[in-house]
């Protein structure tokens, strides 16, 4: 089973394993969402809305659809 960012619960930290290819991948990298980075989920908007994650010293919001491409270490 692959663990995706969307599977991680609020308030838990995890390390990015890889990011599957998608249209936003360059932007994700620029925002510091890189393989090997530790991130923490901070909030999830209701009704499958966006997810906010702590990456280094920044909080980044992304949609569930895009968070799906981010694979996490188990």
């Amino acid at each position: 089973m692959k663990t995706r960012l969307t599977d991680i619960k609020i308030n838990t930290g995890a390390i990015i394993k890889t990011i599957e290819d998608n249209t936003l991948i360059t932007k994700m990298f620029e925002f510091g969402l890189l393989p090997g980075t530790k991130i923490t989920i901070i909030n999830k908007a209701p009704f499958d809305g966006p997810i906010s994650v702590l990456v280094d010293d920044s909080i980044i919001a992304l949609r569930e659809k895009e968070a799906h491409f981010i694979l996490m270490e188990n």
Partner: protein
């Protein structure tokens, strides 16, 4: 001889206090212009330090040198154009101590452009409190350029920054950290071959698809996209390699405050309650607080007009000033309280970092309406004015979402509608209170809601019409919460209010003068008004007013109004309202000043516009002209029709499409006519 000014460009990520720094450096000696061809604000300011004159250009905030939006494209073009007029002599890259790792990414990109550069680390005071300590000396040695810790808010380190800018900046290139496909030597060769300013300029022109070197890329077994991805990975790798040595972070303390506040403000239930409460407070204070200064302005303008009339020798010119120009200016000035309150709230939301939380909260919902969470900012700005709203839609990457946002923005209740609403609501709703709420305020809130609901419904229709499968995405940074800077907010309010007053003022003043002239000139009947009225009336009571009324009806303006009367009669409007409709085609707020011009020409008494309208009776039935049916019909007409030339102009500028500009104008006008027609026919 005037010495040459040193040109400084301020570059940095969004929300890092770059504007605060700009305001600190230049104070009020700044002006906002436009970049050629696009409607991005270009802010230029000046300051002098130790007899050296500086010109500072504040560039829009960007995240990287790969353009994704119009703003970013512009900055990159600017930094690449060495021949350009405003090409900087020196660059100040501003980064936030709170988001250092991410901001350094952009810094390294700019640094590689090899323009003399100073790195200013902002918010160092807040960072200290949040457990972040930075060793700028180590950074300076590593980056081979000056690094200065500042706090734009308190002014800390600014003298040092200015002093550094006065001297020759020693900034040397560091080793290439952005690619492992090209060697340093290869980059150097290409730089000369394609006559680029730096190795990185060459690299950028390849990855930004300006320079086609497909054969080389093929030979190296890479693509533009791969080069970009590698650049991100390599740059972050580089940043990580030194980061822990220069910055000590007490992790838990650093972002703790923001995440704790977020748990509350982004709560799946309470987050929305708070958001709605904030919206409601804005609307209530708009109506309740702004009402007082607006009354004073209204009375003051009447008073000034009266004094002018008695002080100047009577004649056409005096009338033009007292009844045309002064009420015209009054019609602009009366906006100031509400605009100031609106911009106060907006800049507070933006500066504190809450605006991006609204994007987060509303994204899912907005997608149902064919828009994105990012549409919230343009839509909320449209409550002040659709023009900055439509311009703010530029940050939406997706074309379809952006177009829908632009098309529905003018349906939201802009401040130009407020004076019209205020007058009409005062005519039909008694000034009473239900509990703590003003009844008129509640009706006003209902008008806002009507605007919101209509905009959303229109968005659904457009979503359904515009089929297209554009990929819609959202990836945004949510800045840490900060207490807003009072000076920044004041400067922003001043900037927005003065530009509105100047722009709207020109239109309103011009139309007031034209109206006055048209209302006081006419054909033969107009010139012989006294004789005609005398022969038709036996009663001497109110003779003068009857003459004035007859004159107005037969003036050029009256003739124009009567020509369109058949079209607007089904909506419950007479020819006088018709005149106001025509004149407010340029701008809605002209409605009120037109009404006051029309009625002050007609009557010699001085009273406020609302009392004057209340007194107005239909000549045929003796009923009030502004009865319930007509007033509601007018309210609805102004809620939905696109009576604002500037909006039409800015929609065209932003969409570059005559088709969509026309569609926006027509769908709103037709809808406004239909709804007003139904309302009047039903209520009358």
């Amino acid at each position: 001889m005037e010495s040459k000014k040193i040109k400084i460009a301020l570059v940095g990520n969004p929300n890092i206090g770059k504007t605060t720094l700009f305001n600190r450096l230049c104070g009020l000696s700044q002006k906002t212009g436009n970049y050629p061809g696009v409607t991005v604000d270009k802010k230029i300011g000046e300051f002098t330090f130790n007899q050296t004159d500086f010109e500072v250009i504040d560039l829009p905030g960007i995240n990287s040198l790969y353009p994704k939006s119009k703003d970013e494209e512009l900055v990159i073009k600017y930094l690449e154009d060495a021949e350009g007029d405003n090409y900087p002599d020196k660059i100040v890259v501003t980064v936030s101590a709170l988001h250092l790792k991410r901001n350094l990414y952009l810094f390294h990109q700019i640094k590689d452009l090899e323009i003399p550069i100073v790195l200013a680390i902002n918010m160092t005071d807040v960072a200290k409190k949040r457990g972040i300590t930075i060793d700028e000396q180590k950074m300076s040695n590593l980056f081979k350029c000056p690094v200065i810790k500042i706090s734009a808010k308190t002014g800390l380190g600014l003298n040092k920054l200015k002093e550094t800018l006065t001297q020759t900046i020693i900034s040397d290139p560091i080793e290439v950290t952005y690619t492992n496909v090209f060697t340093e030597k290869e980059l150097e060769t290409y730089k000369h071959k394609y006559q680029k300013l730096s190795k990185y300029h060459f690299f950028l022109s390849v990855t930004n698809h300006q320079l086609n070197i497909d054969e080389v890329l093929e030979q190296k077994n890479t693509t533009e996209r791969k080069l970009r991805i590698d650049e991100s990975i390599l740059r972050y790798k580089f940043i990580r390699s030194y980061f822990d040595e220069i910055v000590k972070v007490d992790e838990s303390k650093a972002v703790d405050f923001t995440t704790r506040v977020d748990r509350f403000l982004l709560h799946p239930f309470w987050g929305y309650v708070i958001f709605l409460f904030i919206l409601f407070s804005i609307f209530q204070s708009l109506f309740v607080i702004a009402a007082y200064p607006m009354d004073w302005i209204d009375l003051g303008v009447n008073y000034i007009s009266e004094v002018t009339k008695s002080a100047l020798p009577s004649g056409y010119l005096t009338d033009l000033i007292a009844d045309g120009i002064i009420p015209g200016i009054g019609g602009v000035v009366i906006f100031i309280p509400q605009l100031a309150i609106l911009f106060l709230f907006f800049s507070f939301l933006e500066e504190s970092g809450y605006m991006s939380r609204i994007v987060f909260l509303m994204d899912k919902l907005m997608q149902r309406f064919g828009m994105s969470g990012k549409s919230i900012v343009p839509l909320m700005s449209s409550f002040a004015c659709a023009i900055p709203g439509i311009m703010a839609a530029r940050t939406i990457e997706n074309k379809k979402e952006r177009l829908i946002t632009i098309l529905v923005s003018p349906l939201l209740t802009c401040s130009a509608r407020l004076p019209v609403y205020v007058v009409l609501i005062s005519l039909i709703v008694p000034n009473e209170y239900i509990g703590p709420f003003s009844l008129q305020g509640l009706i006003m809130t209902a008008m806002y809601l009507l605007g919101i609901i209509t905009a959303l419904l229109a968005a659904i229709v457009f979503k359904w019409i515009l089929k297209g499968n554009y990929k819609s995405t959202l990836l945004l940074e949510m800045p840490q919460y900060l207490w807003p800077n009072g000076k920044n907010i004041l400067i922003k309010i001043w900037e927005k209010v003065s530009s509105f007053v100047l722009n709207a003022g020109k239109i309103i003043l011009a139309s007031s003068v034209i109206l006055f002239v048209l209302a006081t000139q006419g054909g033969e009947d107009f010139d012989n008004a006294e004789l005609i009225v005398k022969s038709n009336t036996t009663n001497a009571v109110g003779f003068e007013e009857k003459v004035n009324a007859f004159k107005l009806e037969n003036s050029y303006l009256g003739q124009l109004g009567r020509t369109i009367e058949p079209i607007i009669r089904p909506l419950g409007y007479d020819w006088k309202i018709g005149i106001a409709l025509i004149s407010s085609l340029a701008a809605r707020e002209v409605f009120v000043s037109t009404m006051s011009t029309i009625y002050s020409i007609q009557s010699n008494e001085n009273m406020t516009i609302i009392n004057r309208l209340k007194k107005e009776k239909k000549p045929t039935t003796g009923k009030a002209v502004f009865g319930l049916a007509t007033s509601i019909s007018l309210l609805l007409f102004y809620a939905f029709s696109l009576q604002c030339l500037s909006t039409v102009a800015v929609t065209y500028k932003e969409t570059k499409s005559i088709k969509w500009t026309a569609i926006q104008f027509l769908y709103m006008s037709i809808f406004a006519y239909a709804v007003s027609f139904l309302a009047y026919q039903f209520l009358n």
